[in-house]
Symmetry: C2
Subunit: 364 residues, 2 copies
């Protein structure tokens, strides 16, 4: 059942994004966007048993179908895993007319998109994100990547899918921790660009935690619409798109510092947003009570709001030094001028960041 | 000394191509296209001692300069080598404003371009090709790639450089075998698109083998102009661009069959072109004496015109089955309707190819 359709407006690279129930077994939608006789379905060990056979059945008869099931976890988003995908696809003799279909969360989407971008210099790509995080984040914008041991998403491309199928039924089987991680990115959209949406989230949080279909579909549609608008204005992140990174520079430092996979991306972003909001308070842009309300909202979503117990300011800063957002030695950070209004600063110095991190609450 | 400037016309991805003497030490040209304070220079063990220090000196003072010297040879154009490039560049903390400079032949250009395309989702890229093959082939068109053990250039992207500096002085130090390999691609341009150029080559071959500056500059300019025209019409090879693959499907089979590096790419293409021309004769499109003249021209350029002694028709066909030019099971081949006029066929069947390969002369 189709509930919303969005169009991501990127000219000849534009694509539709479908939101609804039972979409991953929608033969008509699949056949509309997987046009060739060859398909590569990529998933992971957790998601594959739940959904992949249904996708494959709905894909119907194909001349060549390769199913690749990767181990589950951010720690496998590597060049080595990418190579194993290529090994299987080349061995099965997929050609330029093949379609890569990603069925899974952000890791599966990112690595499958990167593989599709590079296999024979680019083949058709369809995304079926099965986590809330992937549905509201990686399904819009065309960022693909693998991690490097020294930095997240260091190696990748911009590559747009042909279409994205968001099946909200997949959220019913999502572990609570993963649902919360996705909600962190949802809160981000409100904070950076849409105060009414942020207020709506504060009010309707219980419906989201109860996984009500209508509330979930609403949140996904509104998040994707905000992201699509930002990405359409700046596809390759030369300007405004950077506001989507609210909380991410701090968050990436947590992920790298704790070892990829220890904290979920959304969890690290939640704590990162708390730090960004706190820095905005220190600059006098946000009142302290708003920061407390924000922590409260995130806490209610069962997200961490304190930094890891074993990371001090120095640990943060050394990891932040590898971040992609650094341009010519200046660290660019996304802060808030107000709730619903992000801004980018490049004048945060070590002293200011030290004070912020020294004063940050620790995660219990 | 600048002798020619061409513009590769690809809209916002268009770029200039400079042909001349002593260009790799041209501070002004370099500073015009390497604008940031960070540079990664990639070369190989053969080329680096000859030219890299001059390039680095001409680049002037930079905040961060990483020199990467790879082993020499097609067998190193792999995912593993790509990973070692990323390891060094990430460790040195290059950011999005860095520029990758490739100094070397086609292998260095292809892998450095691919690395530039993927590092932090794409950074600035400058090409300084030092072999004739790279100057007339990979410097135009934006194809980047690494090989897979089962197929050449299986993994890569389309990524255009900011500029290409072709320094013809580098051809004076080129081993004769490498010069010949480059001439094979030059002959290809005449065969597919420009009969007068092909006749000019037949007449002026001795000047090229004697490495006369004016003749070399002329040949490079004309070859690049033909390629630029074809690429501008079809950047992502959905149609006419495929004619640039004359001799390549057969050639790739030779390269894979003999192990990458045993035959130079240009040598394999020379033999591949002989096979394509012979097939065109069998179809009645070219007269047999033209095929003999073509073999004569290539032989005069010290290029192989017979297939490897240990490869039979079956060996060829199994390697050709992996080729990227196969679309939905049909093998597409570039043949000649006439000298200077290529066409693409997809109706060559196994029987026809068997007869061609069974009848082909063996390389002595």
């Amino acid at each position: 059942m189709l509930m919303h359709t969005l169009h991501v407006d990127l000219g000849e690279r534009g694509y539709p994004l479908y939101i609804g129930k039972d979409l991953l077994a929608d033969e008509q939608l699949l056949s509309q966007h997987v046009t060739g006789s060859q398909v590569v379905v990529v998933s992971n060990e957790t998601v594959a048993p739940l959904y992949v056979d249904r996708v494959i059945t709905a894909l119907g008869d194909r001349q060549l179908l390769t199913k690749i099931v990767l181990p589950d976890g951010e720690q496998y988003k590597t060049m080595d895993t990418l190579s194993t995908i290529f090994d299987q696809v080349v061995a099965d003799r997929h050609n330029r007319s093949t379609t890569f279909v990603a069925v899974g969360g952000g890791v599966i989407g990112d690595i499958t998109g990167f593989a599709a971008a590079c296999y024979q210099r680019g083949v058709n790509f369809l995304q079926i994100p099965t986590t809330l995080l992937a549905q509201v984040d990686s399904s819009v914008g065309g960022k693909t990547a693998v991690n490097h041991p020294l930095g997240k998403n260091m190696i990748g491309t911009f590559y747009q899918p042909r279409a994205v199928l968001i099946d909200i039924d997949t959220l019913q089987s999502l572990p609570p921790r993963e649902l919360s991680a996705g909600l962190a990115e949802v809160v981000k959209y409100g904070l950076i660009r849409d105060e009414p949406f942020y207020r709506w989230l504060q009010e309707h949080m219980p419906r989201l935690l109860a996984r009500e279909d209508a509330a979930l579909a609403e949140v996904i549609e509104r998040s994707c619409a905000i992201k699509a608008e930002v990405v359409a204005a700046d596809e390759r992140e030369s300007g405004v798109r950077a506001i989507l990174n609210l909380g991410h520079t701090f968050g990436h430092a947590i992920e790298a510092g704790q070892g990829y996979g220890a904290w979920l991306h959304g969890e690290a972003v939640a704590t990162g947003m708390v730090l960004a909001v706190e820095l905005s308070v220190r600059r006098g842009w946000i009142v302290a009570s708003e920061a407390e309300d924000c922590r409260e909202l995130l806490r209610g979503m069962r997200l961490p709001v304190g930094i890891p117990g074993d990371m001090d300011a120095q640990g943060f800063l050394s990891h932040m030094a590898y971040d992609k957002k650094i341009v010519d030695g200046r660290m660019r950070l996304v802060l808030l001028r107000a709730i619903g209004e992000a801004c980018i600063v490049d004048d945060a110095d070590k002293k200011e960041l030290h004070a912020l991190l020294d004063g940050a609450a620790k995660h219990e």
